[in-house]
């Protein structure tokens, strides 16, 4: 079986193997790059469509970023006939029980929450992952609420949100992400007002 090792043949073998391996990987990467990007965009678009009211533009194309405290948030405006009907805001919280959670939060033009969608999370299955729609009624309670008069803090901490049983940390993280999104929304709404004033 194995040949006698000499410095020369060891170096040559490893070099050859690594060369073939990287060539193969480059090939596969080139082939799968497009489907991977498409899958990513499809996932984002699906989440946007779920959280904002009906629209007729391409929110991904109109996407702009807003910065708060040095963190950048992607905002996908939804427009119907040129008028803004809502914003889908990609937001996150690092206070999850298992790490970072990423949400898409949709606001109507008046600032009420239209819907939320979880893009990615690493919460405990069976406990914290109940924040995902369909697994429990936790995320439903945000629908139609305006954070201006609905305190985005769990009841235990004096807010208005019913936490998931036994998952207060995950619930707090969810609220944290949603309130960040609301801050971003407020900036967006202000920008729109500013733009409209000179027109009058």
């Amino acid at each position: 079986m194995a040949k006698v090792s000499s410095l020369k043949n060891m170096v040559m073998t490893l070099l050859a193997i690594c060369f073939v391996a990287s060539a193969l990987l480059a090939g596969v990467y080139a082939i799968t790059k497009e489907p991977i990007d498409a899958a990513q965009i499809a996932k984002t678009n699906y989440a946007i469509a779920k959280v904002v009211p009906k629209f007729d533009n391409d929110p991904s194309a109109d996407m702009f970023a807003k910065e708060i405290d040095g963190k950048s948030f992607n905002v996908y405006p939804a427009k119907q006939g040129g008028a803004i009907v809502g914003y889908a805001i990609e937001t996150f919280s690092t206070r999850g029980f298992g790490g970072r959670i990423i949400l898409m939060v949709g606001f109507n033009a008046d600032g009420t929450i239209n819907n939320t969608a979880v893009l990615s999370h690493t919460e405990t299955p069976g406990l914290g992952d109940k924040m995902v729609e369909g697994k429990s009624n936790f995320s439903v309670q945000f629908k139609g609420k305006n954070p201006a008069d609905f305190k985005l803090i769990v009841k235990k901490d004096g807010g208005d949100v019913d936490a998931i049983t036994a998952s207060t940390i995950s619930s707090r993280a969810f609220c944290d992400a949603v309130s960040k999104a609301y801050d971003v929304y407020k900036i967006c709404a202000k920008d729109v007002e500013k733009k409209e004033v000179p027109n009058e």
């Binding site: 079986m1 194995a2 040949k3 006698v4 090792s5 000499s6 043949n9 060891m10 073998t13 490893l14 193997i17 690594c18 391996a21 193969l24 990987l25 596969v28 990467y29 799968t32 489907p35 991977i36 899958a39 990513q40 996932k43 990615s120 690493t122 405990t124 299955p125 069976g126 406990l127």
Partner: protein
């Protein structure tokens, strides 16, 4: 050894999970549901078969001292290929299996088969061995996933059997150990009966 027994030995006599008790990290980590177990099993099956074939084909040219690094590069290549393909075509499954896909590289079953079997046998036999061991691993992970999903969330393959929550501990890590322990006992009892 007949060709068929190369496959069946991986499923029963040398089952990587229940008999050799190798590759415990993905076994315990990914089997929160039957679907995840099956997905992880099939991913490992692919890597194992491909790496066995290639290792067996090139092992004659590889000097003994750089054997292990060469095998690791070959295995890592297939894992990365798999990772790209899964990201592109099954993003949902990729998202749930997450970190465990890249970790197939360090799964000792894969390197173990490359070193102990593929480097000493023909390409055909190595392919069959990879399929056999891979199937054994898939079977074990699917069964473990089914048991944990049934007890932990009262469903199988995502189909809800009983309304309401299950016994939560089976979804969490301790439940994985408990379920695996009982399955080990059952499997070895059955195996002793057969042989």
């Amino acid at each position: 050894m007949s060709k068929l027994s190369l496959i069946t030995k991986g499923i029963i006599k040398e089952n990587p999970t229940f008999v050799l008790v190798l590759g415990m990290c993905p076994t315990l980590g990914t089997t929160t549901s039957a679907m995840n177990g099956l997905g992880m099993g099939l991913a490992t099956l692919f890597v194992l078969t491909m790496s066995n074939i290639v290792v067996s084909a090139v092992s004659g040219f590889i000097p003994g001292k750089v054997r292990i690094p060469s095998f690791i590069v070959i295995i890592a290549t297939f894992v990365t290929v798999l990772q790209f393909v899964m990201q592109a075509f099954t993003p949902g499954l990729y998202a749930t299996l997450g970190i465990f896909i890249p970790l197939i590289v360090v799964n000792c079953i894969v390197l173990g088969r490359a070193e102990a079997f593929a480097s000493k046998n023909s390409v055909g036999d190595s392919a069959l061995d990879g399929i056999g061991i891979g199937l054994g691993f898939t079977l074990a992970l699917t069964v473990l996933g089914m048991v944990r999903e049934l007890l932990g969330s009262a469903s199988i393959f995502g189909i809800k059997l009983i309304e309401g929550d299950g016994i939560l501990v089976f979804i969490l890590a301790p439940g994985a150990f408990i379920a695996l322990g009982y399955l080990l006992v059952l499997f070895n009892k059955l195996k002793a009966k057969i042989s």
